[in-house]
Symmetry: C2
Amino acid sequence: MHKVQVNLRKNSFLLFVSFLLFHSCKAPADKLESPKTEQSVVKTNYLALESWADAPRQRIETWMKEVTDSASPKFIPVNDRIAVFDNDGTLWPEQPVPNQVIFAIDNLKAISSAHPEFQKDQVLKGILNGDIDPMKKEGIKGLTKLVNASHNGQTEEAFNTAVRNWIDTARDQKFNKLYKDIIYLPMIELLNYLRAHDFKTFIVSGGGADFMRVWSDEAYGIPPYQVIGSYGDLKYEVKDGKPVITKMAGQVYVDDKAGKPVAIHRFIGKVPVFCGGNSDGDQAMMQYTHGSKYSSLNLIVHHTDSTREYQYDHKTLSGHLETALVEAREKNWMVVDMAKDWKKVFSFQ
Amino acid sequence: MHKVQVNLRKNSFLLFVSFLLFHSCKAPADKLESPKTEQSVVKTNYLALESWADAPRQRIETWMKEVTDSASPKFIPVNDRIAVFDNDGTLWPEQPVPNQVIFAIDNLKAISSAHPEFQKDQVLKGILNGDIDPMKKEGIKGLTKLVNASHNGQTEEAFNTAVRNWIDTARDQKFNKLYKDIIYLPMIELLNYLRAHDFKTFIVSGGGADFMRVWSDEAYGIPPYQVIGSYGDLKYEVKDGKPVITKMAGQVYVDDKAGKPVAIHRFIGKVPVFCGGNSDGDQAMMQYTHGSKYSSLNLIVHHTDSTREYQYDHKTLSGHLETALVEAREKNWMVVDMAKDWKKVFSFQ
C-alpha cells in the first residue's frame, strides 16, 4: 500500500519532479484534425487498427466489442466512455530528450533579442551560445532557469504563437522530420478507433498543457479542452483596455504520478475506462482506471525497438518503466512490445 | 485599467471571496441529458428560442447567422465556437441563498451520525440543531467550518453519492420543486441552440466543480469535463488495493472574477466567443470574451422579475450586479431584462 500526498508545495521536490518530467518527454505529429475540420492525414481508413499485429489488435477489439454491446454485462454507457493517454513516449517519442526541452532552448533563442538580461545569466548566456554545460552544472536550478526564461512572462497570445511557429518548423535530428510528423501511427489508429466507438479521448501528460494544446488537435484530433498537462500560475489583467493573460513563474502543478489521477478528477470528473501510457509516471492513473466499476483496459507502450524508434525502459530517467511493468503483469494490463506488436511505428516508415 | 493578481494564497481574502461566492448562488434543473442519453425534457423542440421575446431572440439569431455563415467576414470556425456560462443566477436561481449552502447544511446532517466530533463544535452543533446563529456569529470562519465539515475528508465516490441523493430529493421552498427542476427554460433553449450550431458549452462558475458535475449533464446537457468551478486540494492513495481520491481542506481555487478567465485558459485553452453571466463576478470573463479576435456575444441575465423569480442587482451581496452593467452599456453587451425578455422563466410556470 502506498500513499502519496499530491500537494506539491515544496520547491525542492517540485523541481526534482520537473526535472524528471523534462527527462521524460520527446516529439511529433501527422497532420490530423478533429472531426469537423479538414487537413486530415488520419483519414477514415485509419479507424481500423491496421498497424497492429493480430494478437494485440484482437485483444483491443474483443474488449471493445464487450463494452459497446448493450446486451453485454460489460456494457459501458456512452457518457462513461472516457479514455486517457499520456503523451511523451505514448503518442510521440520522448528520447533522447523531451521535445519540450528542445522547444525551450529554441524559444529562448527566438526571444533573446528582446531580453538582454539573458546575457547576464551564465546559464542562459551559455544556452544562447550553444553551450549547455553551465545549465547542466546547475542541475535542476539550471533547467528551471531555462524553462522560466523561455516559457514565463509571456502572454497567452505570444506563447501560443511561439509554439505554433516552432511546431511548424522544428525538425527532429534522428528522423529529419517535423516533430509533429513523428507520432505513433498505431496510437493514432487507436485514438480514432476509440472515438469511432463514442469514447472521449483526453491527453493526461506531464508536459506543459499550454505547450501541447497548440498542436494537439492537428496532431491527434484532441481539442485543447481535452488536454491536461502540467500548469503554472497565471495573471489576468486589462492592459490599455485589452484583456491579457500572462504565464507566471510560481507554483507549478506537476501532472505526473499521483498528480495524474488527481488531475483527471479535477479536469474530467469521471474515472477513465481506458488508459494508455508508457512509464511509471502513468502507473497511478492506470491503477485509477483499473479501479473503475466498469471493465477497463490499461495499455503500456514498451519501447523495444531500437531500429525504428528507441529501446529503453528501467535504465532511463526519461520514461522510466519498471514498477508499472510489474503491476501490469499482476493485473493483466496490456503491454505492447513495440518491435513485435506494431507493424508500423510511423506513417513515413 | 484594473489589474488583478489571481494567486489567492492569503486566507483572509480567500475566505472573504468564498463567502461572497456562497452568497451568490442558488438552485434547480429540468431533466435533460447530453445528446447520447435518454430522459430528456429539453427535447429537439427546445432548439428554437421560443421562450424569448422577439427583440432579444432576434439579436441572438442575427449574431448566430453571421458567425456561422462561412461566406460572412464574421464566420467563426467550428473549433473556435466556445460558449461559457456562469451557473448561479445564470442557469438556475441564486436567491435567497446559494443552493450549495443548502446542500452543505443538509449533507452535514446526513453524515453527522458518523461524525460525533461535529457535536463538539458550537457552529456545527448549532447547524445540526437547526440554529445557524453560531455560524453567523463566526462569519466567514463559521461558513468555512460548515463547508469543510460537509464537503471535505470525503472520497470522490462518497461525495458524488451524497450530491446525487441530495439533488434527487431536495426541494426549494419558494417553488416547492426539486432544485434540479428549477432551471431557466430560456437558457436551456439557448444552450441547445448553441450546441445545434456546433458550439461547445461550458459552465464557468464560482460554485464547487465537484458539486455541479454530478447533475450538470442531466440538468443542462453539459458533461462533467465541461464544468469548471471552484476546486480544492485532493489526495490520491491506494487503500487496501483500491485507488481512492479524497477531497481535502487546503488551498481553494476560487473560480470567480479574475479567476474565471484564468480558469478558462487553464481548463479550455481557448478564448470564448459567447459568454452568459449575471453578476460582477462574471465581468472579467466577459471582458476576456469581448477581447476575442472574433465577433463575440456577451449576455447578462438581469433579475428584474420579483413575481416569477427574484428582483435584485446592486443591493445584494449574492449575485451583485453593478459594474458589469456599466461596462455592458459601454460595450453593447446584451442585457436580458428577465421580466420583459423571457416569456417563460421555468418550464413549470
